[in-house]
């Protein structure tokens, strides 16, 4: 039973988080946890607050109430950049790649945080910096290959179809070697074959230390990929459980699954 997995110290926990924008309550006392070694799905109708919850996790939004902790370490007071250094990484629902960098460079940026080269290396051909850059290129190329994107390494993202741009974002997030990987609608814009490949790649990423959270409207992907699922509706968590449990949950069927087979 997946739910029998004992709580480990490295969990990402959300406790009673409430967020509102000028009286509009976007998240209402949301509590849930995300466990390492698992892929957790976060689903719910449009406007349910999924992206807002991601933004609370990464620090772009400051919830008015509640606690967020990773492995027992409280994140609330950390600015976004510090949370990234603590191991959080994400893809954006609205693609946020740098148009001036080619695909490989965008992915290399993902692991810029891991670099140790200093300002002298940035300007001068010092051996340490060169070695690090070669290593970064190789690592980024590796991730691109895993996502079947190697052929696009030297084009800029603007020339690529939206689905492919999204994959590049995911590659960038993977390249940052996160402890927590938050993916916001990774399959949007992908065709069925690409979605299957993405599912396989994400499945292959699962490791005992890594927490993967996926927000997605594609139920096939969610059901195949996830070990556990949390369901949000109007800013409230209405269900949590295995894919089988969620599929059978009458409340979830009523508010979400029922009308999603278009």
């Amino acid at each position: 039973m997946l739910d029998a997995v004992t709580a480990t110290a490295a969990e990402l926990t959300v406790e009673a988080v409430s967020l509102s924008f000028g009286g509009h309550r976007v998240l209402k006392e949301v509590s849930m946890d995300f466990r390492p070694g698992q892929v957790t799905g976060l689903i719910g109708p449009n406007g349910a607050g999924k992206t807002s919850l991601f933004n609370c996790l990464t620090g772009l939004y400051r919830p008015q109430q509640g606690r967020i902790a990773l492995g027992g370490q409280s994140l609330e007071r950390m600015p976004p950049a510090r949370r990234a250094r603590a191991g959080l990484s994400r893809s954006f629902q609205h693609v946020a790649l740098c148009p001036e960098l080619d695909v490989l460079e965008n992915v290399m940026f993902g692991r810029a945080r891991l670099g140790r080269s200093g300002w002298a290396d940035a300007f001068l051909p010092l051996p340490g910096g060169r070695a690090e850059r070669a290593e970064a290129r190789a690592a980024a190329m590796d991730v691109l290959r895993r996502l079947d994107l190697a052929a696009f390494s030297d084009v800029t993202p603007a020339g690529l179809p939206p689905g492919t741009q999204r994959l590049v974002e995911i590659a960038r997030a993977i390249a940052s070697r996160p402890r927590v990987l938050l993916l916001d609608e990774p399959a949007a814009g992908l065709n069925p074959a690409e979605t299957r490949q993405l599912t396989a790649v994400l499945r292959g990423l699962v490791s005992p230390e890594l927490i993967i959270v996926v927000v997605e409207h594609d139920m096939d992907l969610i059901m195949q990929l996830c070990d556990r699922i949390h369901v949000l509706n109007f800013g409230q968590r209405i269900a949590s459980g295995t894919p089988a449990e969620i599929r059978a949950d009458p409340e979830v069927i009523r508010v979400y699954l029922g009308d999603s087979d278009d």
Partner: protein
């Protein structure tokens, strides 16, 4: 390089600039190196100042390119570098060989000192904050008292290499430093920090989500830009052999912006030279036109303010239009 071989096309990108571009650079450098041999004293002097101004144009271009911000205040950093050099010479008896590195390093610090309190500003608000810097320059210099030479200013006369013609040094030092700055900036584009600044410019939230705060990006872009501007100031002082408060007014700052437009925001040699030449030579050549000179500048400035709004797209479009690009792949 080898591990990044693409299956689609030979890679002529950040790692290795395309051959034609490299040839242009060497050709330009060759021509510039010959100027003193074939041209008279006036042109040698003027082109020397052009090259110093080209470095100044690069400093504003750097901030636009890597910070996504427009500065109307870089005459401040320019003046700082120029006076640094002049004062190091006057007070310590040391040549530009010491003055320039001192100016470059202190300029970076000064850039941070300005960028920190203004880090929350952007766009027109930041531009206006930088304008306040520019407006303060002449008065600040006068306030420094005798050490800065008052209205008359100071001379920068000490040769870099004793025994060699000073006039030639006044020409070749700007040439060598300009070439170096262009080379260093080309390297920077490929660096880890370069990738961070470019991403932070277009998607600050993405940069934050990957561990780099907006403050970091802003401070870094300003420090480098101010350091280049300060270096340019040192070169200008040396090339023109004198510094005085009235060479660092608000118009100077605006001309630098105009130069950036003329360079198409390029951080390459040809673009920088075009910008430097424009702001150096137009006032000289069109001196007879009198009142029209500011109007020419004004029109060019309007262009940069409109373009400066979306530097990335504009630069990409320009590059595609000019046919220099792999970016339209």
């Amino acid at each position: 390089m080898p591990e990044a071989v693409s299956v689609l096309a030979p890679r002529a990108t950040a790692e290795t600039p395309p051959l034609p571009r490299r040839l242009t650079v060497w050709l330009l450098l060759g021509v510039l190196a010959l100027v003193p041999a074939v041209a008279g004293g006036f042109w040698t002097y003027s082109v020397g100042v052009c090259m110093a101004n080209a470095v100044a144009v690069l400093s504003v271009g750097f901030l636009l390119r890597y910070g996504g911000e427009v500065s109307i205040g870089h005459s401040f950093f320019l003046a700082f570098g120029a006076y640094c050099t002049a004062i190091v010479e006057r007070e310590l008896g040391l040549s530009v060989g010491i003055g320039l590195p001192v100016a470059a390093a202190a300029g970076a610090v000064l850039g941070i000192v300005f960028a920190w309190p203004s880090r929350a500003l952007s766009g027109i608000y930041l531009a206006i904050a930088t304008m306040a810097l520019a407006l303060s320059v002449p008065e600040l210099i006068l306030q420094l008292g005798p050490i800065a030479g008052g209205y008359e200013g100071l001379y920068v006369a000490r040769p870099l290499i004793p025994g060699v013609s000073v006039d030639l040094q006044r020409y070749y030092l700007p040439l060598v430093v300009l070439a170096l700055v262009v080379l260093l900036l080309a390297r920077f584009r490929r660096s880890r920090q370069g990738l961070v600044l470019l991403t932070a410019r277009d998607h600050p939230r993405a940069a934050e989500a990957f561990g780099f705060s907006r403050g970091y990006a802003r401070l870094a872009a300003f420090a480098i830009s101010a350091s280049i501007a300060s270096t340019a100031g040192a070169l200008l002082a040396f090339a023109a052999s004198t510094v005085s408060p009235n060479s660092f007014t608000l118009s100077t700052a605006i001309y630098l912006l105009v130069g950036t437009v003329v360079s198409f925001g390029s951080l390459g040699l040809a673009g920088a030279l075009a910008g430097g030449a424009f702001i150096t030579l137009v006032p000289q050549l069109f001196a007879a036109w009198g009142d029209w000179v500011p109007i020419i500048y004004g029109a060019a400035l309007l262009a940069v303010v409109t373009l400066g709004h979306r530097p990335a797209e504009v630069l990409a479009a320009l590059r595609a239009r000019l046919g220099g690009g792999r970016r339209d792949a």
